[in-house]
C-alpha cells in the first residue's frame, strides 16, 4: 500500500491551488455562500471554467484527442477535492467533467460529440440531469416520462422533479421510456430551449436552483438527440451512476468544516475541553474513513477493476461522515451557526441535512452493500 501522492500529483494540486487563489475574488466566500446554484456562482463559473480550461486544468483526465490532459483518475479526483473545498466555483459544470462528458465520449455519435464536447471542454455550458420523477426517485423502473416515435424523431411527455440547475442549463441528460418493458429506457440530450419544456424552481433548503420541476409537454426532438441505441438507456445509466455516486469528493467540505471548527473553538477557549476534542477526533476519523474508501474506488479505476459494492460502501461512508461532522457542529458550534460568519461550518451543517438523499438514498446503498458486498439474500 502507498498513501502518498506522486510529485506530479502534488505539483498539479499546487498548480490548482495557485490558480484558484488568483481566480477567486477576496470576498468569494461571502458572495458565493458556497452555493453552486446561486446566480453569483453560476455567473462566476461562466468565466471561471473557460479560464480553468485555458490553464489546462478543467479536464486533466480526459483523453488528449478530446482536449484532455490524458492524466490518470487521481488528477480528476484532486481537481474535485480542490474545487469542492472552495464551494465548487465550477457550479454544476462539475457534472460535465465527471460523468456527462465521459458518457458522451463513450456512447455518443460523432455528431453528438462534435456538438457537445467542445462546449464542455470550453467550460461554457451547463447541463442538468433528468432522472427523478414525482413517482420515481431511487426507483428508475417506475419512470413515467415517455418518448414516442414520431416521424424521424420523438415526442416526449412527462415530468421531472428535483432537477438541479434546470433553470439555467442549456441541455438536459434526460431519461424517457421508449418501450413497453420496465427496462426500455433511452437517454436523450435535450436542449432546454426546446418548445414544450417548462421549468419551475422549487425553493429549497439546499440552496438556490438546486431543485426544480421540469414539465415536458409534446416536446419534439430529433433522433439525433438520442444517446446510444433505443432502449439501451438502462446500461448507460448504470455506468453513469457508478461514476456519479462518488463523483464529487464531498467529504472535503466536512474536512474543511472541522478545520474551521477547531479554529473557532480555539478562539472561544473551548478547544481544550476533553469531550469537544474527542468529538473532533471521532468526526475527523469518520471523514478520513470516507476519503480512504473513495480513494479505493479511484485506485480501482486506475487498475480497471469494474466497480462493485465498494462504491456503495464509499457512498454510505459519506453519509456517515457528513452526519458525524454535522452533528458535532450542531451540538458544539451553535453560536457559530447562528452568527453565520463561518461559511464552511454553515455549509457543512446544511449539507449534512440532505446527505444520504442524492444519488440514491443511503438506505439503498445499504441494500446494495448487503446484497452485493455481503451476498445476503434479497430482502424483498
Amino acid at each position: 500500500m502507498d498513501f502518498t501522492w506522486t510529485p506530479e500529483q502534488q505539483d498539479y494540486r499546487q498548480h490548482l491551488r495557485a490558480f484558484i487563489a488568483r481566480a477567486l475574488p477576496a470576498d468569494w466566500e461571502a458572495k458565493s455562500n458556497y452555493d453552486p446554484g446561486s446566480p453569483y456562482v453560476v455567473d462566476f463559473a461562466r468565466d471561471f471554467c473557460p479560464a480553468l480550461a485555458a490553464e489546462g486544468l478543467l479536464i486533466p483526465h480526459w483523453p488528449v484527442e478530446h482536449g484532455g490532459g490524458g492524466a490518470d483518475p487521481w488528477f480528476h479526483w484532486i481537481l474535485g477535492e480542490e474545487m469542492f473545498a472552495v464551494g465548487e466555483p465550477r457550479s454544476y459544470q462539475y457534472m460535465n467533467v465527471n460523468w456527462i462528458g465521459p458518457a458522451l465520449l463513450r456512447y455518443g455519435s460523432a455528431a453528438q460529440q462534435a456538438l457537445h464536447i467542445p462546449q464542455i471542454t470550453g467550460g461554457s455550458v451547463f447541463w442538468c440531469q433528468g432522472f427523478s420523477e414525482p413517482s420515481a426517485g431511487s426507483d428508475l423502473a417506475a419512470l413515467k416520462t415517455r418518448a414516442e416515435r414520431d416521424g424521424d424523431g420523438y415526442v416526449i411527455n412527462g415530468q421531472k422533479i428535483w432537477t438541479s440547475a434546470a433553470s439555467f442549463a442549456s441541455y438536459c441528460f434526460l431519461l424517457a421510456r421508449t418501450g413497453p418493458t420496465k427496462r426500455d429506457i433511452s437517454v436523450f440530450l435535450v436542449p432546454m430551449d426546446t418548445p414544450g419544456i417548462e421549468v419551475r424552481e422549487v425553493m429549497s433548503l439546499t440552496g438556490r436552483r438546486s431543485l426544480h420541476e421540469v414539465f415536458l409537454t409534446d416536446v419534439r426532438v430529433g433522433e439525433e438527440t438520442r444517446l446510444g441505441e433505443e432502449n439501451a438507456g438502462w446500461a448507460i445509466v448504470k455506468a453513469v451512476l457508478h461514476n456519479e455516486r462518488i463523483g464529487a469528493p464531498r467529504y472535503i467540505m466536512a474536512q474543511r468544516a472541522l478545520d474551521a471548527a477547531a479554529r473557532v473553538l480555539r478562539q472561544d477557549g473551548r478547544f481544550d475541553v476533553p469531550s469537544i476534542q474527542a468529538g473532533l477526533g471521532k468526526a475527523r476519523a469518520a471523514v478520513d474513513a470516507c476519503q480512504l474508501l473513495c480513494f479505493r474506488i479511484i485506485d480501482g479505476r486506475m487498475k480497471n477493476v469494474s466497480p462493485g459494492g465498494e462504491t456503495n460502501v464509499a457512498r454510505y461512508a459519506l453519509a456517515l461522515a457528513d452526519r458525524a461532522v454535522g452533528d458535532f457542529i450542531g451540538e458544539h458550534l451553535h453560536d457559530a451557526l447562528l452568527a453565520r460568519e463561518e461559511q464552511t461550518i454553515l455549509t457543512q451543517f446544511r449539507r449534512a441535512a440532505s446527505t444520504g438523499l442524492g444519488a440514491g438514498a443511503a438506505e439503498i446503498q445499504l441494500d446494495i452493500v448487503a446484497q452485493s458486498f455481503l451476498e445476503l439474500p434479497r430482502s424483498h
Binding site: S204, G326, L338, A353, S354, L357, S379
Partner: protein
C-alpha cells in the same frame, strides 16, 4: 403514580383545541419562507388569557408545559415559551412577548428578540430584565425556522436586576420550556413522516413497508414516548436534576429523528413549500440551546450524584 393526563389537563386541551385547529397548517399556497412567525396564534393565545393575565388562566407549570407541547406541534414560530414556563416561575408581571438570553453579548443572536417587549437575562446568579422599548435590535438571518436578532444597544435605564429571583429559576423554566418545545416539534415531524411513508411508494410498495424504515421510525417513536414522560415528570414538581435530564434526553435524540424524517421524505422534505422543515429547523435550533445535550446531561449528573449523595 398516575401516568395519564389529569382531567384538568384534558379540559385544557379541549379548551385550546379550537384555537390551535386554525393554526395546524401553513396558509396555502405557502410562501416559501425559512421562518413563519405565528403572530396571530400568539395574539389569540394572549387574548384568550393563556399567558396568565389577571382575568386569564392561572396555569400550573405542568399545564403550561403541556400547552407548549401543543403549540410546538403547529408549524409556526410562536414566542410563547418564556411566558408559559419562565415568567410565572419568577412571579413578576412583565410585558410580553419575552425573549431569553444567557448574556447581553451583542454578538449572540437571541431567539424571538425582535418580536419581544422584554428580554430576560440569566447572568451569573442574577436575573436581569431589559425593557426592549428603546433598544436597537438587528435581525439576524439564520438557517433555522425561528426568528433571531442581536441586541445592538439599549438605554442604560432600561435594564434592571429582578430582586428575589434566582437565575437558576430562569434556567430551569427555560430548560423545561425548551424540552416541551422539542417534544411538540418532534411529535409533529415524526407523525408527518409516518403519514408520508404510508402514502409514498417506491419499488412498488409503501416506503413505510420497508423494515429498515419501520425500525428507525419505531425507535424514534420510543424516544418520543419516553420524552413525553420524562418531560412531564420534570414539569410536575420535578427538581433541577429531573429537568436537566429531560432536556438532555430531548436534545440528544433530535439529530437522529430529524435525520430520519428528512431521509424518509427524500427531496420533498428539503423544499420550502413543504411543512417539514418548519419543525426540523426549529429542532436543530433547540438542540443547541442552553449548551446542548452534553451540557444538560452533565448538569443532570452533577445534581444526581452530588458529593453529598
Amino acid at each position: 403514580m398516575d401516568l395519564d393526563l389529569s382531567s384538568d389537563q384534558r379540559m385544557l386541551l379541549s379548551a385550546i383545541e379550537p384555537l390551535l385547529a386554525q393554526h395546524r397548517q401553513l396558509p396555502q399556497p405557502a410562501a416559501p419562507d425559512y421562518v413563519v412567525v405565528g403572530g396571530d396564534l400568539d395574539a389569540a393565545l394572549d387574548a384568550a388569557g393563556f399567558y396568565g393575565d389577571a382575568d386569564g388562566f392561572d396555569l400550573e407549570r405542568a399545564d403550561a408545559a403541556l400547552l407548549l407541547d401543543q403549540i410546538a406541534q403547529c408549524p409556526f414560530a410562536v414566542p410563547a415559551m418564556a411566558s408559559l414556563t419562565v415568567a410565572p416561575a419568577l412571579g413578576i408581571a412583565l410585558p410580553r412577548p419575552i425573549a431569553l438570553a444567557e448574556s447581553l453579548d451583542p454578538r449572540v443572536p437571541i431567539r424571538f428578540l425582535a418580536q419581544s417587549r422584554t428580554l430576560l437575562v440569566a447572568q451569573g446568579e442574577q436575573v436581569l430584565a431589559l425593557d426592549l422599548e428603546g433598544a436597537e435590535i438587528v435581525p439576524q438571518d439564520t438557517i433555522f425556522a425561528y426568528p433571531f436578532a442581536r441586541l445592538a444597544s439599549y438605554p442604560a435605564d432600561a435594564l434592571r436586576p429582578l430582586a428575589g429571583v434566582n437565575a437558576q429559576q430562569l434556567r430551569d423554566g427555560w430548560a423545561l420550556g425548551l424540552t416541551f418545545e422539542i417534544l411538540g416539534a418532534l411529535r409533529a415531524a415524526h407523525a408527518l413522516t409516518v403519514d408520508y411513508v404510508k402514502q409514498r411508494h417506491q419499488f412498488k410498495r409503501a416506503i413505510g413497508a420497508f423494515q429498515a424504515v419501520q425500525h428507525r421510525l419505531a425507535e424514534g417513536a420510543t424516544h418520543i414516548e419516553a420524552l413525553h414522560y420524562l418531560a412531564h415528570r420534570a414539569a410536575i414538581g420535578g427538581d433541577s436534576a429531573e429537568i436537566a435530564l429531560a432536556t438532555s434526553y430531548a436534545q440528544q435524540h433530535v439529530p437522529q429523528i430529524v435525520y430520519d424524517c428528512h431521509q424518509f421524505h427524500g427531496a420533498m422534505g428539503l423544499t420550502l413549500e413543504y411543512v417539514l422543515h418548519h419543525w426540523t429547523y426549529k429542532l436543530k435550533a433547540l438542540a443547541g440551546e442552553l449548551g446542548g445535550a452534553s451540557v444538560q446531561g452533565r448538569r443532570a449528573a452533577q445534581l444526581q450524584w452530588s458529593e453529598a449523595a
